[in-house]
């Protein structure tokens, strides 16, 4: 649906040219929700603006629905843009227009008649659940409601693509969730392809099918969300995943274990870091360790979460028992697909 080929983008900055995008290749499949994540300044917003040519790339090719965007003349570009909806972090609603007036604006720009606009606007406001607020001004409604207006406005021209630039970044967690649910519903009901730019991992986790991780103007990692989350390859991805699923044990936990060890020299044991994704977490892996290998377990740290219905998580387990049994247990865990990182503990 959207194809970016070798996109470069340079800006003239105060201290010489700035390279915002450095060789972006991205393929967004029709009907998916594709996340783009990165820290601020990574080039996410530049990237999403290249798709509807709000940023004209310095080099490279932009294909939307098979159409070469850079080759379009101004009227052609305007027509193409009206088939790509966009929602913004700061909503960008006109303060001089009511909710209905804002939603109707793209239709007005397209030269559609007043009666048809009225009917379409009412239908759109029903979709986003704001029918009762149609005559309110943006200043009179909440942030979440403003973003619903923004979404309704973006959908007015029945686009096949929706670009979301940090649409939930200035909203509280509850509102974020409801906006994401709305985007998911739109993606499903109207088969709109969504490109979701965000710096928040949990946003990608909740709704995206695939995700591209950006760093310094490049896509450093791209793939299905569950894969990128559970097997992060690039340091940037690891850093982002770390924020809500720490890869390293917090220092306080380490200190506590060492203290425990010191108190009981006889039973040192090992610290196992277990990471699992997918169906494994439905299996009784921990009770396996206890029953089959006769080990003592103490869960010292961990979390279990799910991405689109598939569980994943990581646990830090302090294991004590016969050394051979521990080795056998580790082999067993690896065999069932759990990633194991074993660490002998000593009270040295």
């Amino acid at each position: 649906m959207i194809e970016l080929r070798n996109i470069f983008q340079f800006y003239r900055g105060p201290a010489g040219p700035v390279e915002a995008l450095r060789g972006i290749d991205l393929n967004v499949v029709r009907g998916e929700i594709h996340g783009v994540i990165g820290r601020s300044g990574a080039g996410k917003s530049s990237l999403v603006r290249v798709i509807n040519l709000l940023n004209r790339p310095s080099r490279g090719q932009v294909l939307v629905g098979g159409q070469d965007m850079c080759a379009l003349d101004p009227p052609g570009l305007r027509a193409a843009r009206s088939r790509i909806g966009m929602v913004f972090q700061h909503f960008n609603l006109l303060s001089s227009r009511t909710v209905a007036g804002n939603v109707g604006l793209p239709l007005e720009l397209a030269g559609i008649g007043a009666t048809e606009i009225r009917a379409r606007v009412d239908a759109l406001l029903d979709i986003v659940g704001l029918g009762a607020l149609r005559d309110h001004y943006p200043a009179q409604i909440s942030g979440g409601q403003k973003q619903r207006v923004g979404i309704a406005r973006a959908l007015a021209t029945k686009p096949s693509v929706l670009l979301s630039d940090e649409a939930t970044s200035s909203l509280d967690p509850d509102t974020t969730r409801s906006i994401l649910t709305l985007l998911q519903q739109i993606n499903r009901d109207f088969s709109v392809t969504i490109v979701l730019v965000t710096h928040q991992m949990h946003v990608v986790k909740q709704v995206a099918n695939r995700v591209a991780v950006m760093d310094a103007g490049r896509i450093v990692e791209c793939g299905p969300v569950i894969q990128v989350f559970t097997q992060p390859q690039h340091p940037t991805t690891r850093g982002l995943v770390d924020e809500f699923a720490p890869q390293q044990l917090p220092g306080s936990v380490n200190a506590r274990i060492i203290k425990l060890m010191a108190a009981n020299e006889v039973r040192r044991g090992q610290l196992l870091r277990l990471a699992f994704a997918g169906d494994d977490s439905d299996r009784p892996i921990l009770s396996d360790l206890i029953r089959r290998f006769g080990l003592d377990l103490n869960i010292v740290h961990g979390h279990v979460d799910e991405i689109q219905g598939r569980p994943f998580g990581s646990l830090a387990v302090h294991v004590r028992g016969d050394n051979d049994q521990v080795t056998a247990a580790i082999a067993h865990l690896r065999q069932v697909g759990v990633t194991v990182d074993a660490q002998a503990l000593s009270n040295a």
């Binding site: 509807n52 709000l54 570009l77 305007r78 027509a79 193409a80 843009r81 009206s82 790509i84 966009m86 913004f88 700061h90 960008n92 006109l94 303060s95 001089s96 227009r97 604006l105 793209p106 007005e108 720009l109 397209a110 001004y137 943006p138 200043a139 009179q140 406005r153 021209t157 670009l163």
Partner: protein
């Protein structure tokens, strides 16, 4: 003291007030008609505008500054040939409207430019993303969003013009200021001068109140 205000003088007051309203109203309207499009062009041709053109921007900007920095009393006499060409005479109320309009236009254009600059660039971006033409961006986004600012700018202009119009007496333009000078100053009738000032204060107050009321009605930025 009250016997100073004879029916004849009161009639003269009425006539002068009418002349002031006429001069301020007409030149305000003409000044806005010229200043509004110039202000829009100044904004659009600026560096981050949708019609970026630094050459035009610099020339128009310099012209606007030149007129604005010319003292009105000098402008008044300097453009007498132009005034005569347009109105057929260099004296009278109609003749005063020409320099007043010329003084008002660049003033309005800067105020319009400033109001447009205050419109969030995100709104322009959003309109572009919807596929808006430049004309649509101006008419559907920039002007409606800047309207409260433009109206308060026009209000300020009308008030400045009221002050300027007092100088128009120098070319026989009439008006309250002229009345105050001729009767109050030259004929040693301070009570007439005081009355003129009082009427002008009320006039300006009225213009400001109407302007504020309009802005309040149009501005939806606050809940």
């Amino acid at each position: 003291m009250l016997d100073t205000f004879t029916p004849q003088l009161l009639a003269l007051f009425g006539k002068s007030l009418g002349e002031t309203v006429e001069m301020v109203g007409i030149s305000g309207a003409i000044g806005t008609a010229i200043g509004l499009p110039v202000g829009v062009l100044l904004r659009l041709t600026d560096r981050d505008g949708v019609l970026q053109n630094s050459g035009f921007n610099r020339i128009a900007g310099t012209l606007v500054n030149a007129v604005r920095s010319t003292p009105f009393i000098i402008l008044l006499v300097a453009i007498i040939p132009l005034t005569r060409l347009i109105t057929g005479s260099s004296i009278g109320t109609a003749a005063a409207v020409v320099p007043l309009s010329i003084a008002a236009a660049p003033f309005v254009s800067r105020l319009v430019e400033t109001s447009l600059r205050e419109v969030d660039s995100g709104l322009v971006e959003a309109a572009q993303a919807m596929g808006a033409t430049r004309w649509q961006i101006v008419v559907k986004v920039l002007l409606p969003e800047a309207l409260p600012g433009i109206v308060s700018g026009v209000t300020i202009t009308l008030i400045s013009l009221t002050g300027y119009s007092a100088m128009a007496g120098a070319i026989g333009g009439g008006g309250l200021g002229d009345l105050g000078i001729r009767y109050g100053y030259q004929r040693f009738m301070p009570e007439v001068m005081a009355a003129v000032v009082l009427v002008l204060i009320l006039f300006v107050q009225g213009v400001q109140s109407v302007g504020d009321w309009l802005v309040r009605r149009m501005d939806h930025k606050a809940p």
